[in-house]
Symmetry: C3
Subunit: 357 residues, 3 copies
């Protein structure tokens, strides 16, 4: 592929030799001759001086003054990360992970009442139960179990060994990564006088809207009534747990191992760092950023707030609290010093003004 | 269903129109005409003024003085949450998630030496290995793998894609949610001089007593010797990890993503908040409450203690520590002020009493 | 088995009756007559006075002066834990978890282009896709799904329901515990102006070197470019997440529920406590110890550092910070006291030296 073809594909401005050939995608730090790489995170600018890449895709707002080497062809775009994704998608379409010669593998159990759209692929050892509906062109990989009454939209990708329990509703273009569980029972019990528990039935459901991605081994619990809802465009990494009755606003993202407790309402476009958690029955406003490992224990209703620490506070306050904790030793020393000097003064004064004088 | 039938089913006191018809279960905030809802959590009393429910199930000890609207029929019971659960169980029996026309699906592998009780159901693509014993009326959903020598009790429900390794003992009425793993190897190694590790064999087992529920994708590790034991009535949410040699006392509950390290002894009726963790080789007393995200790093032997934070401390002390951290900035300012004033005083005194005078 | 046979097997020094018969392995606190137990952790020395074991394996450097009871035969070895592991391995070879009479179960789908080594065993309901290569004597238990182009080495053990996505490379003697997922998509997206996200393709792979063990339900994400790499000898417990582009140095161990964010470089022989986490794009030096629940938010380049807390700091500093937080209340009281005394002094001085006098 010529650099000028890349520039055209990405609608980018080209600086350098348009006729260079590139035939491989690489990371900037590993790239050799013939490779195309990208530069979006300022942390990686240090590799600019040494990279062997033939072509670099860079963002327009990055200042590379005096760092652009003549032997490298630069393609300048609005957002290098987005553009690079486009190019990769163009060069690497989704591989066929599990080859099969029939749309529905002969070693799959599909109930006669299930409805499959045009071009649906069902892998070996899948179970598609009664009254399930699957939309056009959805790929269901081997070992997936879908219980009665669940609806999946079109062009979804369901990875191996996913479990979707009964009566869930899943939109179009949803990606469910390996081993995730959709619609497991909410964790709800009533406690008896002797400390034992009775399980509360969870007759509700889970609704996952269009363009959501759920990471491997994540779990989404069904509600007792109504639905646990993941609004369109949300992205969940691996090991994320969303409890019963939650509502997750559109385009909110969760890094790995985040947990959200029951009946909590999360706003739109929030970003949750890894291993953070949210208590039950609280509200998280739109556009909030929750730091890694943070524990949100109360509602935050002001949009665009960044919180961190445990319990989660406004990030600036949390940093100050941390700093205080570390500075305290010096302060404790100063307090001792003040005490000593004060005692000396008191003694001086009492000597000077003692009645004996 | 008439309201008077609900009152009779729940053995409750009826206030209002006994002949009202209800045909749907709903949450108090969503309920419309013809719906029955419940009110147990005081946080939801605010919806009492606006709910459109025809019937509300409320707890006897809740003060609703002056808030009971005449158009709503109230059924007053000892515990509204328990009663509502009963009613839901009555109205919604466990659905048949995976329809099959034979008790053992033809697409399941059951070893000839395995013993299945009366009414056992085995789903498609299950593997039931040699010498496994399964009690009466237990339901094993598709894709479950049970290794040699494991015993399951009666009336258990095993969800899809669960894995139970060899020689485990599981009681009656146990619920194993999708994708959980029972009896995985404990994480035990010996370290060689060069920093590499040798795996220690884990020839022990896991014992899960009656009425336990294990959440989706949770993992219970087998011990090297003896058994990891989950005593009767314990409830574990999703992504919980119990390490080798642990003993979990009866009716203890774990919210999602809790981890317990090896050889730890947890008391009865404890409650673990989400994402909390416990170190290895420690003791947690009976009836303790461990806050969300807390890290228990030492033994707590006093029953009924509530702990929180990291490292976990008595909750009141932990809150005080947090408050100190946040208040410290003001104190640091006061220290500076004290220093300045003290210096002034010292100067004054030294001037007044200077030898020159 | 005679005690002298044990001493010979373990190359240990024998103190006591060499002809005693032992026929069972037990924990020191549970051991009865005829049992052999071991003593490596000083926490368990308290059981020495009461154990009923016939034989104890102890480490040479343990001081048991005056505590060695004559009725117990002691086998003294360099490392009691290692030696006990050897003995267990000798007495309990890996059981056959899923009996089958053919090497490849008839209920498994193996693509004709897949290559299986000598003695490979493939369980029921496995799918081995196109161009997969599996080395000699590797055991693949039921329900495992391996996508196109992946290579597994020799003598690996793959537990039930594991998923390995396409084009991964896995070394020899690797153990993949139940339900783990290797090669799931990295969590990478580009953000659009309206807050929605585009998925970045992850055309890279995962490389797992020899002698690695991955715990149940853990997840290893594939990189967008190049490989996520787990170097030889690493041991990961359950629920561990390693994100895209990470490199984990050899013989590093991760307790349960640890998460490592993308593009992070972890050194060799590190030890991660349970529920700890590491931010993306940072470096962790060799031989570091990361405390349980710690959150590493920046690079640590000094080898052999121990860190803890959130954000993770040098362990001694973190402990001091914690201590400060708890001691602060007393200090605040002292500040108040200093203020009161200072005010008294100021008043005294101003009275003594007032112009009125």
């Amino acid at each position: 592929m010529k650099v000028r073809e890349i520039a055209k594909l990405l609608n980018g401005e080209l600086v350098g030799n348009a006729e260079l050939d590139v035939n491989k995608i690489a990371k900037i730090e590993d790239a050799g001759p013939g490779c195309v790489a990208f530069l979006a995170n300022p942390k990686y600018i240090k590799y600019l001086a040494t990279t062997q890449a033939s072509c670099l895709i860079v963002s327009r707002d990055q200042t590379l003054e005096g760092m652009m080497r003549p032997e490298i062809a630069f393609v300048i775009v609005a957002d290098a990360r987005v553009a690079f994704g486009w190019m990769m998608q163009h060069l690497n379409p989704l591989p066929e992970f599990f080859k099969q010669s029939t749309a529905v593998h002969p070693m799959a159990v599909v109930d006669p009442t299930a409805t499959l759209g045009i071009g649906v692929s069902i892998g070996a050892y899948c179970v598609i139960s009664a009254n399930v509906r699957i939309g056009d062109a959805t790929v269901v990989m081997p070992g997936v179990k879908i219980a009665t009454g669940t609806k999946l939209g079109a062009r979804c990708v369901v990875y191996p060994n996913v479990v979707i329990l009964n009566d869930c509703t899943i939109g179009d273009r949803v990606i469910l990564q390996s081993g995730c569980v959709i619609g497991t029972d909410g964790f709800g019990f009533s406690r008896n006088a002797d400390g034992s528990y009775n399980k509360l039935p969870h007759g509700g459901t889970v609704v996952i809207e269009d363009d959501v991605e759920i990471g491997s081994n994540s779990t989404i619990a069904r509600s007792a009534l109504g639905a646990t809802r993941i609004e369109k465009g949300c992205k969940l990494d691996c090991h994320v747990h969303i409890a019963h009755h939650c509502n997750i606003g559109e385009n909110t993202v969760f890094a790995a191992q985040v947990g959200v407790s029951g009946s909590t309402q999360i706003g739109k476009r929030c970003q949750f760092g890894g291993q953070s958690g949210v208590a039950g029955h609280v509200v998280v406003a739109d556009d909030m950023i929750i730091g890694a490992h943070a524990g949100v224990m109360k509602s935050f209703v002001e949009p665009h707030t960044t919180v961190s620490g445990f319990p989660a506070r406004n990030h600036v306050a949390a940093l100050r609290g941390q700093a205080n904790m570390m500075k305290a030793a010096a302060q404790f020393h100063e307090i001792k010093q003040l005490r000593a000097e004060l005692e000396t003064l008191k003694k001086q004064i009492s000597e000077k003004f003692s009645p004996r004088k």
